[in-house]
Amino acid sequence: MVENRPFLAILSHLILILGVAMVALPVWITFVGASHEAERMLQTPIPMWPGDQFFVNLKQTFWGSGLTGTSIAPVWMMMFNSLLMALMIAFGKIAISLLSAFAIVYFKFPFRMGFFWMIFITLMLPVEVRILPTFEVVADLGMLNSYWGLTIPLIASATATFMFRQVFLTIPDEMLESARIDGAGPMRFFWDILIPLSRTNIAALFVILFIYGWNQYLWPLLITTDADMSTIVVSIKQMLEAAEQSPEWNIIMMIALLAMVPPIFVVIAMQKLFVQGLTETDK
């Protein structure tokens, strides 16, 4: 910056730290909540500093049955389901979007823009508003209570297709020309050149879609009836429900914490690629 006054620098840091503190507060409270005994969490004011029950709660939550009597699958299993679902959604969306964006950008064929618009307009509609008919389709296809049912209906992606289209459009024409002169056919070009060149975007999209998949709520709630298929995010809402009767906030907060860890880990671990991929093309 232009002004080199230390006062301004300190002020900036102060405000940023304050901002970070404000943003982090909810999670701090969650963490604190997860580290006390259930009883302590029902007395006002609730504590602001961590207690000593963190690992006890963690153990109970992760290996034990979780919240008393939610009678759903153990937490590790729900986390596994969430993980599988998130990964399948992320990879599935990326794969089919890459292919369709490739077709739309690198080929000229009848109905090209028609396909594009169909993909684009329609998929903007969130599951919430078309959920019943979609549920019926899935049921008719016999995909209830399966990982396929959990993922495939969510796998079409306008955003990803659009983003890859943008990415491909920014790849210099000379790449294709050069590859054609080198004798590469379409699929070879796709694998050898296009995929490697889009890898930051793929990574960024992976982060977004992983989170999207992990955070799904209404869809898995409806599509799974088998406790073994339940996901962790769904269970949180059910625990809130159950909290009316038995408010074990410490365990709820622990599960909330566990449910946050994987997506946050993914975001932070892939932060650089994520930011690059996101801000350089999508914008």
Partner: protein
């Protein structure tokens, strides 16, 4: 082994108890396996079952709360009346074994039982005995006394006198039954779908207005639609709490003080004596579309669930009323009521008098939505935006619209 799917809405400790019942049944025989699935709260469970039915993937048995009764009943092709189910499967079943207040809610006008009562409750008045004692007041029996006790509690330093949850159920449906007032025409809907809501009468309005006025000095504090206000009671913020008897299990677990339950307060300006309260909670509905062999297993399971031992245990653990006379007897024999005074309040309330047309229960279509509407209007009342009369009028009007819609949809 034949699998029998049972969707339920019992989270928390009750969910564990469900699992235990299923496991016990599974262990007791080798032909059938009952698989319980928790599907969220009452509304979510019901919706999930309906969605599944439309998709041909319905469970055998689903727990539906009492307000969904009309909807379920109307779906003639979807449900398998339990009385018929039992008969078809050759399981012994006798309606007279059940508490009249419980079964009457779920019978057709012809007397056929449609769904199996399972977890039935009724609202009671929970009180913090220590706090009442400290404030120097007796356990109240009338609304006048409630008001006085609330004042005493607040004066004695409590944050609130009384609160309640499931407000439509407690403050309108049960208030009306308790004082023998009609909620709607056509015997509260039992006599036909062309019914209209009439709970917007002076008596209910006066009561609600009085409660709303109690907010001024925290004698009454509103704390949410369902059980959200439970911590206010168990924390010692509120000295009295009106809600389902089924919170017994939770209160036992959480309250650090001496507590008790007593009958709902009487509004002396409305009636001289209480009539009877109506049930809540849920029943188990069998759904069509499965093999007869499976229904056989289901029938066995229902018999098992209604057995005196299971029901008594369930009743004593949860605070839901025992649905059969035998289970109530058994509990008495086991000395449960003696060692836990007040735990028979619910049964007493329900069997106080022979139910009248006003106190049998209610059977309104779209009642889930109507409850929403009532909740909305009551919240507007608590927030001071409108008067009690306005709230009730609005609720009745909007409710009637929904009734008309329902009437059309099941034509």
């Amino acid at each position: 082994q034949t699998e029998i799917n049972w969707w339920h809405a019992m989270g928390g400790t009750n969910g564990e108890r469900i699992d235990k019942m299923a496991a016990d049944f599974n262990a007791s025989q080798s032909d059938y396996v009952v698989k319980p699935s928790y599907k969220g709260n009452y509304t979510e469970t019901m919706t999930a079952a309906i969605a599944a039915f439309r998709a041909g993937e319905q469970p055998h048995l689903v727990q539906v709360f009492e307000v969904g009764t009309a909807t379920m009943m109307a779906a003639k092709g979807a449900i398998y009346p339990v009385e018929k189910l039992m008969a078809d499967a050759g399981e012994p079943f006798n309606g007279d074994d059940y508490l009249p207040a419980v079964v009457s809610y779920y019978q057709t006008p012809e007397g056929e039982l449609l769904s199996m009562p399972f977890n039935s409750s009724t609202p009671v008045l929970w009180y913090n005995a220590d706090a009442l004692e400290a404030a120097g007041v007796e356990v109240p029996g009338t609304w006048e006394e409630v008001d006085a006790a609330a004042k005493a509690l607040v004066d004695n330093g409590m944050k609130c006198g009384i609160s309640f949850g499931w407000q439509s159920w407690v403050m309108i449906e049960n208030f009306s039954a308790w004082h023998d007032l009609a909620l709607g025409t056509k015997e509260n809907g039992f006599a036909g779908f062309d019914t209209e809501l009439t709970f917007n009468n002076d008596q209910v309005a006066a009561r609600l207005q009085a409660v709303a006025d109690m907010q001024a000095d925290n004698k009454f504090v509103y704390g949410g639609r369902r059980g959200d206000s439970l911590p206010m009671f168990t924390n010692g913020e509120c000295g009295m709490w009106m809600n389902s008897s089924a919170y017994y299990g939770s209160i036992v677990g959480q309250a650090k003080f001496k507590f008790g339950q007593t009958m709902l307060p009487l509004d002396k300006t409305v009636a001289d004596a209480p009539q009877n309260s109506i049930i809540g909670g849920a029943t188990l509905w069998a759904l069509q579309g499965h093999e007869s062999d499976e229904y056989k297993g289901l029938a066995q399971f229902l018999t098992y669930l209604s057995s005196p031992e299971v029901q008594a245990w369930w009743h004593q653990e949860t605070g839901y009323v025992p649905i059969t006379k035998a289970a109530a007897e058994l509990s008495k024999e086991q000395g449960f009521y003696e060692s836990n005074p007040g735990t028979d309040t619910a049964i007493k309330q329900l069997s106080l008098n022979t139910p009248t047309a006003n106190s049998r229960g209610l059977r309104f279509g779209n009642f889930v939505q109507i409850r929403d509407v009532i909740n909305e209007e009551m919240e507007a009342l608590w927030a001071g935006n409108i008067s009690a009369q306005e709230a009730l009028d609005n609720a009745a009007n909007r409710g009637n619209d929904l009734l008309r819609k329902f009437e059309r949809s099941v034509k």
